[in-house]
Amino acid sequence: MLETLPATGRAAAAPGRLSRAAPFVAAAVAALALWIAPLFLDTFAVNVLTRSMIYAVLAVTVDLLWGFAGILTFGQAAFFGGGAYAAAMILSAYGATPMGIALALATAIAAPALLGLVVGWLSFYHRSTPLYASVISLVVPIVVVQLIYAGGAWTGSSSGLVGFDVLPFEIEGYFRLAALVLITVTLAAWILVRSDAGRALVALRDNEARCAYLGLNPRRLQIVLTAALAAVAGFAGFLFANASGVVAPENAGFLFGTELVIWVALGGRGTLLGPVLGTIAIDYLSANLSGDLPFLWRLLLGTAFVAIIILLPGGLADLVLRLWRAFPIGRSGHAAPAIAEREAETEPVAADTPILQVRGLAKAYGSLTVLEAIDLEIRAGELVSLVGPNGAGKTTLMRCLSDGTEPFTGSIAIAGTALAGLTPNRIVGLGVGRKFQVASVFESLSVADCLRLARASRDGLSPVGRAATLSLPQAALDVLRMTGLDHRLDQPARLLSHGQKQALELAMVVALEPRLILLDEPTAGLTKAERATIGRVLKGLTAGGRIAAVLVEHDLDFVREISSRIVVLHQGRLVLDGTVEAVVGSELVRTIYAGGAHG
């Protein structure tokens, strides 16, 4: 099945053995150091640092959401407070019996996770904006705090809960427990963000639309992430309630939520150690300095925060990394995976069912009719060019074919399945791949990672590691080879030229193994040679007789060269549909293009 091709570019073998084990070694050393640390610290420091480390666990969750997945959240405080209150309330009622502790722990994790699911559902929906998610994350802590106030004797109202039974640990024990939890959570987060699934988080931040058009469900990813990290925050709350023996409404409040964001920003969003060390350092310093210079300390912190946001968005970690990179030692770099070919998986459509069937399609924006009475049938093996002057409705038609939530009338069916109401990711599941007019790739990911995400809806992504091979269908490999991208697998997509980005996006769409490929001006802005390459690829793809392609194109020479059929749109209507000769020779096309397009 999988025949591994010779690794291209740099050899992917030896480097990295040691560096892969390094984080585990570092974690073990850190655990050991923190285990013996209480022997050398005074009681005050042990107490404060225990709290700081619990806060650092929260900072890791905020960082995963904001720094990696691009969701600015103030809501982690609510989940933390929820967990802390759940623990405190249950421990107050049942005491620190094994039963009580187990129940407290389970509730402190499950309740925030459930709340996280609700919040995720509220925050993320088709066409929701990042700003809206942040708005919800603001509202949640406010509501939770008011619920705490309204809770009367249950929640202790504004004075919080004290004097409940806690786990039978000394303060050193709590310190060590917090340290172990922090190290475990950080290590798990490290493994996640380095894994293939971690790339999906970054992809979500970079380009949510492309994720959806690769068949991934951005909503589900975001909701699952929110709920899972809510559970982690709830667990941190459980620890906090036990270690401090007191919970108060401020622990769940919006202000605490903003503080978490400040710590992460100062430490360095998008890195893991930055927020962890930043949180511990700032919280520890706060505890020490707020006694002597309370207002001045917060003033300094606020000023530093503003300065960092404006001047150094990557935080202090970014500064350290820049200095580190200035030393030319120990550079390993990411080895590109070996690419392999895989057999085609697309099941051919039954010969009598058209791949695309459009009946009576009409679309209007208010009183402006953009499309009307469009009937179109496309079968496997066809390469249909959609031509027409600007404003004819070509791109709108493409949008209707790939996003069923666009309001339109009439019917569109892919291989017999109606797509009205379906979100883009589900339409990808039906076998539609869409290439946008402006190349839409994941700018901060490498070429290989972009391609791997294109396969994710079929092959899945590992949440713990990176696959050593990247297996792609033959057609996608052809695109890579013809455009030389196979030698650039380890390069970040943002460094590619315009033409290479177009080729990469085409390879990604082809890697989806669609039945129907939609291409919106795939050759715009490309050189003659690049154009010819894309033409060859498209002809090769459809020649097999399994796939159909629809492309919007202005270059009539190109269209004439590659198409099996041409459809002409004019003022929202389908005015011509026929073979290349029939359409290109027709008087109507000459009139529409004012006789100027070609000689």
């Binding site: 919800i136 008011q146 309204a150 920003a265 000023t303 503003v306």
Partner: protein, 277 residues
Amino acid sequence: MLLILDILTTAAILFIVSIGLLAIFGVLKIINFAHGAWLTVGAYCAVVTAKIGLNPWLALPLAFVVGAALGGLAEHFLIRPLYRRPLDAILATWGLGIVVGQLITLAFGRDVQLTPNLLAGTVEILGVDYSAYRLVALGIALAIGTLFALTVERTRLGLSARAVIMNETLARSLGIDTGRVRLIVFMIGAGFAALAGVLLTPLTSVDPNMGVSWLIGAFMLVMVADASYRALAAACLVFGAAQVLISTFVSPILGSVAIAVLAALVLRISPKGFSRA
């Protein structure tokens, strides 16, 4: 009757507090989380006016000028570098709010300040005794709303601002100095916020963190209004009514989160909020 007056005056106060934030969000597309700080600055202008023994109403122009001046500085040094990073702008303005709050604390201490009442007593209206000041606030809200509407609809600045709201690139290519429009709008927004701070002093205690409690409500109202002052007025009425009714008949605690929760739900259902109507 009392209920209706409560609803109207609550809506009026919400409108006064949010209008500055709306102006900034509409034109700059930036959520100004320093809004709470401007409110606080305005309230402390009232404190200062009282300390040097001036007529308390003089605090209004003073607050507007101070707010606009600080707003101008903030726009120039903080907001301008962040136009392309709107989420970061939220954070930077929040940080600015912390800084302003701490500076006020350093100067005045963190205790609650007393301010002279702008207008004491009650008046009898339609059979009930009602706080005279709240009624005046209603009048002021209407005045501010009218002034705002006239500025938007009738002046050159308003025209430029609407052009920037609709299509900034086009506005710029037509020769509108969009940078200047942004600066002026930010100054006016901050000025209005400080003005609102003065007007809040008879209704709430004045302390360095007073702005934060008003910020979230104003922010949610503006999100729902989406850059339209008419929609903002409608939102203030509807959510103000909801707040008063829930506080009166259900529980004051639920009433205090009514605006935030209802606004979030409205946005979930209709992302453009009230501005479509």
